[in-house]
Every structure is written in C-alpha cells, then in structure tokens.
Amino acid sequence: MSERATRQLAAPGEPTCPTLTLMATASRGAPDEADVAPTTSVDDLLERAAGGDQQAFAQVYDALSSGVFGTCLAVLRDRDHAAEVTQEVMLELWRTAPRFDRLRGSARTWALTLAHRRAVDRVRSVQAERARDQRVMDTHLERPFDVVAEEVEGTMDRARVRQCLGGLTPTQHEAVVLAYYGGRTYREVADHLATPVATVKTRIRDGLIRLRDCLGVER
C-alpha cells in the first residue's frame, strides 16, 4: 500500500509526491510521535503489540489516536461521544492486534476503518433509540447537515484531500461526503437528496474510485 511506502520513504518535511504530503501531515498532532524511531513503522509496532507489548501499543496509540479521534469527531460531531468511541476503538485494536496482517492493509487503514465503523454504529444506534423513544431527543443539537459538512471540510487543512475531493463532480462529492462524514447509508443519502437509489450508488462508487486514483492509493 502506498501508505506504508510513505512511512518508509518520506523524509520529514520533504514530501516527494502529493500522497506523501498527505501522509506526512495526517498524523501531525500526535504528541509523542517523535518517540517512534524513524525505521519503526506503525505496522511494526502493532505487530509487537500483538505479542502483548504494551509499550509498543502506547506508541501505536500516539501514532493513530489523532486520526481515530478525528474520524469519530467528524462523524459524531460531539467530543464526548468521539472520546468514548475512540477509547472503544483503541481497546478493540489492542484486543484484536493478533489478527493484524499487514499484507491486507496498513495498521492506520485498519484503525481508521474500525473508527469510522464504530462511530457510524453509534450514530445509527442513537437514531434507532430515537425512533423508539422520542422523549430523549435533544433537538437543540440538530443542525442542517450541509452546514456541518462545510465545517468538516473546513477543518481539512490537508490540501491533497481537499484537492482530490474538488476533482469529483459536485454530485459525486456530495454523495461521498454525505455517506462518509454524515455516517449515512446510500439509501439515506438518496432520501436526503431526493435522488434515485441507483443513481446515488453509482455516484458513491465512481466518486470513491476517482478519489482513490487521485490520491494514488495503490491497487
């Protein structure tokens, strides 16, 4: 995967291609990342953690927690929920570390996939709760989604992602953002946009493939 290659090849502050720029900045904000020796990738650390090495896992935490928390926050838009789900995700990462297989994707992809999944689980579970029990609705937190989507993208100072999202057609862009950051199913996106389900499915597929090619994620 390009992401792994990035960590091994990129000299700090000297990105050599757009993908490297993104990856070099994506984990900025992890306070103790300097503790990770440059030759030790997060994949290596997670493999050590799989053997019960708690210190290695502390370094995994430092490398991945910002991405995990940011992903949860983007979907949940509430710091307390995001912190709770981040904790669940990091503990699940620890418990299931023995199943990590770097040939099937990087540790970062695994962690962020898990983070998004658990954040979406919580959103949908909360929505189901609401359907059952209107009494606990706190409507003051409701905001039109489109405002939120703008805010989320506004926090993306990752120029490359923004550039690649900008390379999508407006309808692809809208569908991908509503699905990923909005935590919606494609059927919900179709509902929201009053657009046929098959059309939205196609927009999501074509949009994500175009994004993949733009970001240089290897096949």
Binding site: E84, D191, V217
Partner: protein, 254 residues
C-alpha cells in the same frame, strides 16, 4: 421519500464495494458484500484499496483526543485479553460480529430518519437507563404473569411487611414499612437453597434494585430457583458473605 431498491438482493454486490468501504450500507447489503469478498479475491483487493481511500478521508480530519484518554486506554489494556484466533470473517478483518444484527426492516426504518446529529453523551446514557428500566419492568410483568409463580407474604416483627413472588428461575421481593436498620447497618436479602444462604442484594440503591428508600425495597433476583426460600437479615453496611445475624423474616414456597 424515494423508493428503495427491492430488498430481494438482485443488484450486483460488486456495485456496493465503495458504499461498503464508506460504511454506507445497511445490514443486508453488508452481508452480501462480505459474501462476495470472501469468495472473490479480486473483489477483496478492490475493497482494500477503497478502504484505504476511505481511511485517508478519516485521517484528513485528524484531531488530538483529550489528553487524559491516553492514560485511560493504556491503563485498561493491561486488563484486556488479546484474541488468539484468526479473524472469523474474511470481509471484516479483525472485527468479529459482536452485536446482533438489526433486521433489514429495522434498518429501513432507521433509514427513514434524516437527522444525523447525535444527542449528548448524557442523553445517550439516559436512553440506555430508560431501556434498562423498561427491560426490568417487562421482566416483572412476565414474572407476575407466570402461572407457576407463588406469592408469599409475611409480617416482620417490629414492623413492616414483605412479599415474595417466587417463580421457577427468579423472584421478586418487596419490603415496605421496615424500621431503619440502624447506623452502619443494612438489610440484606438471601436466597436460601437446601438450608444454605446465598448472599443476594444489599438493600441500597444499585443495579438490581428496582426501588430503594429507607423503609421500602423492591428487588428482582435471578439467583432464585424453584424450592428456594428468601430471607432477610441485618448486616454491616456493604453486606456480608454469610449471615451474621438471624433472619428477621423468611419466605418459603409451599
């Protein structure tokens, strides 16, 4: 509302790989994609690249978590056992299915909701509490409706009344009008099986206590089995593993 695709699984799950990578599928679609990926290495590779792409979208929103979370996580891993078995589900590496899947129709109902904003953690916990109480109430209703249940009642010397509803696998115990147990003391409920008292609830507010006021208690116990008796003693605060005083009252089935 637009008309959803027919839920008959006729569309090609390959078209759903991207939506799956974005977690934008309902449970029925998720299963179809996982079946595809388990059987088709090309689809599995395609999904990997799409997942990595989705992860980049997540990484782009990186934000530092609350600093205290680090300590909390690292403290807890020392108590968390790691798995040993390989991943059971090919399409969902490392994340065994841990919760029952919602049915398709529930997913459809959820899909009808447009709001994506979530209530606060406090409201979330309140909801969980509401469901816990509802489940408990349902259990009490079921118990009262059990044709095998026996109702036993006794007066407590010194004041108060206790009532037990005794079924085959649980019992509901209520006490009302009891005197204060005294400073540093509590009432404790016991399930007595073959003459041996098994400690049950200390009658102060707690998870299994339906209601607890100083002279009024309702306890639902699952330790009870057909033929057991219920007994109450006065114990030091926090309760005891063995009774330290004689029971003030005993309820036995006929």
């Amino acid at each position: 509302m637009t008309t959803p695709d027919p839920p008959d699984g006729t569309s090609d799950p390959r078209d759903l790989l991207a939506a799956y990578a974005l977690d934008a599928v309902d449970d029925l679609d998720r299963r179809r994609v996982e079946d595809l990926v388990a059987a088709d290495p090309d689809a599995a590779r395609e999904l990997e690249t799409l997942r990595a792409t989705a992860a980049v979208l997540g990484a782009a929103t990186s934000a530092a978590p609350p600093p205290e979370l680090r300590r909390s996580v690292l403290d807890r891993i020392s108590e968390e056992r790691q798995v040993t078995a390989p991943a059971p589900v090919v399409g969902e590496r490392g994340t065994p299915r841990r919760r029952p899947r919602r049915t398709f129709w529930v997913a459809v109902a959820a899909a009808a909701l447009v709001a994506a904003a979530v209530p606060s953690v406090l409201a979330w916990r309140q909801t969980q509490e509401v469901h816990r109480v509802q489940a408990q109430q349902q259990e009490v209703v079921d118990l009262l409706a059990d044709p095998h249940a026996q109702v036993r009642r006794a007066d407590v010397p010194g004041g108060g009344t206790v009532v037990g509803v005794l079924s085959r696998d649980r019992a509901l115990f209520t006490a009302s009008g009891l005197q204060e147990p005294g400073a540093g003391k509590v009432y404790q409920l016991w399930v007595v099986r073959d003459g041996v008292p098994v400690p049950d609830a200390v009658m102060a507010a707690g998870a299994r206590i339906v209601r607890a006021t100083p002279d009024d208690y309702v306890v639902l116990t699952h330790r009870y089995a057909a033929g057991d008796s219920l007994a109450v003693t006065v114990e030091p605060t926090g309760g005891s593993l063995k009774p330290t005083t004689s029971p003030i009252v005993v309820l036995s089935p006929v």
